[in-house]
């Protein structure tokens, strides 16, 4: 396939998809935390939110309702910070009312994603994270096809919760990656254990170890387990940088170690 090396993705070093077969496991949350962690590590990061029906990224990074401008190389992404180290693009920015329902069939979604990939002027980025909706559908096929026209996808990070209902769906996603030739960079087990703030008793509300088992079963790298932390939930709701606010928490160390592992595997490849 001819790779068009001039264009919006030309100066992006690494492209990582954040996938899951299952909904609600925390793909968007993990994408945001990874992006913030990478930014803290001094990298320039971009997030492309291709969940057209449920765009969560604008809310999680509290960028409000900015307009998307055009420059001569394409659409200018929305920057979450003044130093322009975190660039975002989501359908949430293109709607008049960000809470409006986007009730589109496949072909329209495919076309929109095509535009997101080729028409956004990302500029120089170390890592572009792509937040996807649940499933293995039009959006996933569209993003893979469109990115492959410009650049090779470095790989995919799969997010799961430990319970059997989730790991079953994420297994399908691993097979999807194998079929489409996307390297699985690793599996993250999210919502792994809840520590009661009162008595510190750890309850495995969504079970434990399912992600690790899945990694073993499919021969993938287990990147780490992120606990179920109400403080993380609150920060995400309010668009606060969790990593800055709670650097001493177990969640912070889990996310940092996952980010380190991810960076080393991207740089090694």
């Amino acid at each position: 396939m001819e790779q068009n090396n001039d264009g919006s993705l030309a100066q992006v070093q690494h492209i990582v998809l954040v996938l899951s077969g299952k909904g609600g496991v925390g793909k968007s949350t993990i994408t945001c935390e990874l992006a913030l962690a990478l930014r803290h590590a001094g990298k320039k990061v971009g997030i492309l939110d291709v969940d057209l029906c449920g765009p969560s990224i604008p809310r999680m990074l509290s960028v409000g309702r900015p307009d998307v401008h055009q420059c001569d190389t394409g659409w200018v992404p929305v920057y979450a910070d003044a130093e322009k180290n975190l660039a975002l693009m989501s359908i949430g920015f293109l709607l008049d009312d960000p809470d409006e329902a986007v009730v589109w069939r496949g072909p329209k979604k495919t076309a929109m994603i095509g535009q997101f990939v080729s028409d956004v002027a990302w500029g120089e980025l170390d890592v572009l994270l792509v937040d996807t909706p649940p499933g293995t559908s039009d959006e996933h096929l569209a993003i893979l096809e469109n990115i492959k026209k410009h650049k090779q996808v470095d790989g995919a990070v799969l997010v799961t919760t430990p319970q059997a209902v989730s790991t079953g769906d994420v297994r399908r996603e691993v097979t999807f990656c194998k079929k489409t030739g996307v390297r699985v960079l690793g599996i993250i087990e999210n919502m792994s254990g809840f520590v009661c703030p009162h008595c510190s008793e750890c309850s495995n509300i969504f079970s434990k170890g399912g992600g690790e088992e899945l990694a073993k079963l499919t021969g993938s790298v287990f990147l780490g387990a992120v606990p179920l932390d109400p403080k993380l939930s609150t920060c995400i709701e309010e668009g606060i940088d969790f990593l800055k606010s709670f650097p001493d928490s177990a969640t912070f160390s889990a996310i940092s170690s996952i980010t380190q592992t991810l960076l080393s595997s991207l740089q090694a490849a």
């Binding site: 029906c53 449920g54 809310r59 329902a101 009730v103 559908s137 769906d169 399908r172 109400p230």
Partner: protein, 341 residues
């Protein structure tokens, strides 16, 4: 040549509008001076033709477009044997739609053992029903090529999960998904059912549209967790149902509060009461509040839904309360519709 519509099928019809027919139509309209868009009569001057064609275009265009679009939309056909179709949806993934659908189906039967309830898993990409209902295997076919649903706990179920291998992804575009949905809806020998619960996938896309357009839906139950991120998507889900004229029975707040099994301290992990507030804002009732309890997840993973495995637990009681509220709302809606008609 007049290019009235952009759709290929429409333009081929338009090609038949020869100049002769056009002139005849213009004559008819010229005689009905008030039939065109609100303007005063026509000025009978040499520019009449142009004025006229422009006005004719704009009004008749809209009418014709509406007619063409209505003809293109699928007709709603009820599923034979099924009295009422209820959908369990959310805009968001992972809020507990499947868990709620399964337990709601069982709770409806627990509240009234005379009722027959079926379960259709419309989540093609991530079918959870087989796991939750402890069902496995390929459905058998009847003599006229219809699929027989697999049953457990007295609930006949159909899911994509029965038709694909465990672990095999379903990598399909929208069109294929629609045709698979059509088969799952129409080519299943459900038998007589009081309620058919449809467990929807996350999002607001092809599957939701296809089901709402092809089948008359008696009501939608929207599930959400209390956090804002989930509520935003639940709100979109409710809006979508309003757009396609499906009555929203109400919201279910799931994973509302976690009680530590050791010290009984209550933590609102995903926030507090968000769904209740959203229900008030949107003017729909809150059908129920389900706590975040290990028991629900453990029994779900084992394929023994909490309503049948621990019927006396507070979690099962919560689901039965939701079922009772659903039945009440359906009755209210029937009465309102009856009054209107």
């Amino acid at each position: 040549m007049l290019r009235l519509l952009e759709r290929p099928s429409a333009s081929s019809k338009m090609a038949q509008l020869t100049s002769g027919r056009l002139r005849r139509l213009l004559q008819i309209y010229a005689n009905k001076s008030s039939s065109l868009c609100g303007g005063p009569g026509f000025e009978h001057n040499s520019a009449l033709g142009v004025h006229f064609v422009r006005r004719w275009r704009s009004v008749d265009l809209k009418e014709r477009q509406k007619q063409m679009m209505a003809r293109g939309l699928p007709k709603q056909k009820p599923i034979s044997g099924v009295k009422q179709v209820l959908v369990v949806a959310s805009g968001k993934g992972g809020v507990g739609k499947s868990t709620t659908a399964v337990n709601l189906a069982l709770a409806l039967m627990a509240n009234d053992p005379a009722k027959t309830v079926g379960l259709l898993d419309a989540d093609i990409y991530g079918p959870s029903i087989p796991k939750l209902m402890h069902l496995k295997g390929n459905p058998q076919l009847t003599s006229n090529n219809r699929m027989l649903p697999l049953s457990n706990y007295g609930v006949p179920c159909m899911s994509m999960g029965f038709l694909v291998e465990d672990g095999a992804p379903v990598v399909w575009r929208g069109l294929m998904v629609m045709s698979a949905m059509e088969r799952l809806l129409r080519q299943v020998e459900w038998g007589p059912l009081d309620y058919l619960l449809v467990d929807m996938p996350p999002g607001t896309g092809d599957v939701q549209l296809s089901i709402s357009q092809n089948v008359p839906v008696a009501g939608a139950v929207v599930v959400s967790t209390p956090q804002d991120i989930a509520l935003l998507d639940a709100r979109r889900g409710v809006q979508m149902f309003k757009k396609v004229h499906v009555p929203v029975l109400g919201l279910v707040q799931n994973m509302s509060v976690f009680t530590c099994p050791k010290c009984q301290h209550q933590t609102h992990i995903f926030g507090a009461d968000g769904a209740r507030q959203l229900a008030d804002t949107l003017g729909v009732p809150l059908l129920g509040d389900i706590p975040l309890h290990l028991n629900i997840r453990e029994t779900s993973d084992r394929g023994q839904p909490v309503v049948v495995s621990s019927p006396s637990s507070p979690e099962a009681a919560a689901y039965r309360k939701v079922a009772a509220a659903v039945v009440q709302r359906l009755e209210e809606l029937e009465q309102t519709q009856g009054a209107v008609l």
